[in-house]
């Protein structure tokens, strides 16, 4: 499987196919939730459902992006590297939609509520900071910016690690009755970050 995908990538048509698969495949969550919303299948409190859904997909894409390096090292899937930028941008994409959904569906763009949430709610502040920090990473993700920034690019994009921790904190802060889901994502992140530490310390 791994070998055949690598072989696929030697051919431009193969690369294009794979790019399309990943690009359009990543729009499936958005398509699914939109369809459910249009069909009124989201129950009496669709705002909550949509916000949670978009948030969890933002987190998943961030985790997937962080998984590229360990996957290359451990599984030898080097072709994944060329999609890391797309995956990271999808994390930003879903995070932005998540934020937009909070402002529109939960707060109705009421200025008093927006101000209050952004100044008084620790978990929202943490999540918002994570999103703000993702913005420069998204804008400088092109090859042009990579060249322009040179060594500083790596330094800037190192921010993804503290961002991931902020995202986890944002998520964990919402727990009410069960922590299994957060625990699973925390363990995955622990592995993804721990593996990098291990590479460094080795």
């Amino acid at each position: 499987m791994v070998l055949s995908i690598a072989a696929l990538h030697r051919h431009p048509v193969g690369r294009w196919c794979f790019w399309s698969l990943l690009f359009f495949g990543s729009l499936i969550p958005l398509g699914w939730i939109s369809w459910q919303a249009v069909q009124q299948q989201l129950g009496p409190d669709p705002a909550q459902v949509v916000v949670t859904f978009l948030g969890i997909w933002a987190l998943r894409y961030l985790w997937i992006t962080l998984a590229v390096t360990p996957a290359r090292r451990l599984l030898g899937v080097n072709w994944l590297q060329r999609y890391r930028r797309m995956l990271g941008l999808y994390a930003l994409f879903y995070a932005s939609l998540h934020l937009l959904a909070v402002a529109t569906f939960i707060l109705g763009w009421r200025p008093d509520l927006l101000l209050r949430e952004l100044t008084e709610r620790p978990y929202i502040i943490v999540g918002f900071i994570a999103w703000l920090l993702l913005l420069p990473l998204g804008t400088t993700s092109t090859q042009g910016w990579q060249k322009r920034l040179g060594k500083r690019w790596k330094k800037l994009h190192w921010l993804v690690y503290p961002i991931s921790l902020l995202v986890l904190l944002h998520f964990a802060w919402l727990i009410r009755a069960g922590y299994l889901e957060v625990l699973i994502y925390a363990l995955i992140l622990a592995f993804l970050l721990g593996y990098r530490l291990y590479l460094k310390m080795r």
């Binding site: 919303a37 129950g43 009496p44 409190d45 669709p46 705002a47 909550q48 949509v50 529109t104 569906f105 939960i106 707060l107 109705g108 009421r110 509520l113 209050r116 949430e117 008084e120 709610r121 620790p122 978990y123 802060w173 919402l174 727990i175 009410r176 009755a177 069960g178 922590y179 299994l180 625990l183």
Partner: protein, 335 residues
């Protein structure tokens, strides 16, 4: 009589089923007839029409009979638009059945709600374990349309059917030193899959409590029905508390024990997160939950592009009736 020793034989077991069923038919006809005659002004509770009749939870026959005879209460009921039955019974928290809002409906249907016994204990002159059917004998049910405000900042308007908790407590004759009432939910991991989870934050069984004056307040209801029908398992069948001026988690479900005590009893959410959930848990827009605001709520059903955001009222709009209970108390401290 209810008061005295618990009885083994239930009323439905004494009356032959055929006669009993005939009676039911007769009463049904009577209710339907009078409802038609009085066109909406009937004192007996008319049945609600549902989009999907399959969704009704029948409950035991003896309860159906009592529900048909329930009266409407104008005094305490709100005239606000009801939250549809499918949402009241399909979207709620009942962590004994899972963490998702749809888990209770999906996973509670197997709960055996009849026969059901409730233990009355502590500072009462007539303690004992009683069959719910016997507890309800001699009790007149009535409908109460209440606002329900969840601590998670959403709310519903729900037509409960029940009776004042005060009526029940009086019959068991509280002693003079009874200052609090504690309630316990069924603990049965076999029937309640949420209680089998190893990653929960709540210690089972779920417990709640009220101060005596709160418990005796005429707004405080023990519900056995909703929308004119039996309470479905996911909403706390067969017996639940409804305290409309407090956050929803105070309204404990599927009660198996009522204990009167001198000391303030522990409550589940307070034990789980004491800095977030106090004993009183009165709805209060001025005191935020540490993690989120309580000043507004989404009245359900809400829609995406015109979210139904309304301002939360002190004591959930029941301040006129209950604010005096807390006179002189710092509600910031006693949240």
């Amino acid at each position: 009589m209810l008061i005295g020793k618990p009885r083994d034989v239930r009323a439905s077991e004494i009356t032959p089923e055929s006669i009993y069923r005939q009676r039911r038919q007769f009463i049904k006809g009577l209710a339907a007839g009078s409802a038609m005659l009085m066109s909406g002004q009937a004192s007996a509770l008319a049945r609600y029409a549902l989009d999907d009749e399959q969704q009704r939870y029948p409950g035991p026959d003896w309860l159906q009979q009592k529900l048909r005879a329930a009266g409407k209460s104008g005094e305490f009921s709100t005239a606000e638009k009801l939250t549809p039955y499918e949402h009241v019974t399909g979207y709620n928290n009942f962590y004994e059945f899972g963490l998702g809002k749809e888990d209770p409906k999906a996973r509670a249907q197997g709960l055996k709600t009849d026969p059901w016994s409730v233990e009355i204990s502590g500072e009462v002159h007539k303690p004992g374990t009683y069959q719910l059917e016997d507890i309800l004998k001699g009790v007149d049910l009535e409908e109460r349309i209440y606002r329900l405000r969840c601590v998670e900042a959403w709310s519903m308007v729900i037509p409960w059917v029940g009776f004042p908790l005060a009526d029940l407590l009086k019959r068991f004759d509280p002693k003079g030193n009874a200052r609090y009432v504690a309630f316990t939910t069924l603990e049965d991991p076999q029937q309640m899959p949420g209680q089998r989870s190893r990653f929960g934050t709540i210690d089972w069984p779920y417990v709640e409590g009220l101060r005596m004056d709160e418990a005796m307040h005429p707004l405080t209801l023990l519900a056995v029905g909703v929308y004119g029908d039996a309470l479905p398992p996911q909403n706390g069948a067969p017996l639940r508390l409804v305290v409309p001026w407090k956050y929803g988690f105070k309204s404990i479900k599927s009660i198996v024990r009522i204990h009167l005590s001198e000391e303030m009893p522990p409550t589940s959410w307070n034990r789980t997160a004491p800095q977030e959930y106090g004993f009183y848990a009165n709805v209060n827009p001025a005191v935020d939950h540490p993690r989120w605001s309580q000043s507004t709520e989404r009245r359900l059903p809400s829609s995406l592009f015109s979210p139904n955001i309304i301002d939360t009222q002190p004591f959930n709009g029941y301040a006129d009736q209950v604010a005096h209970l807390y006179k002189g108390m710092d509600l910031r401290k006693w949240y």
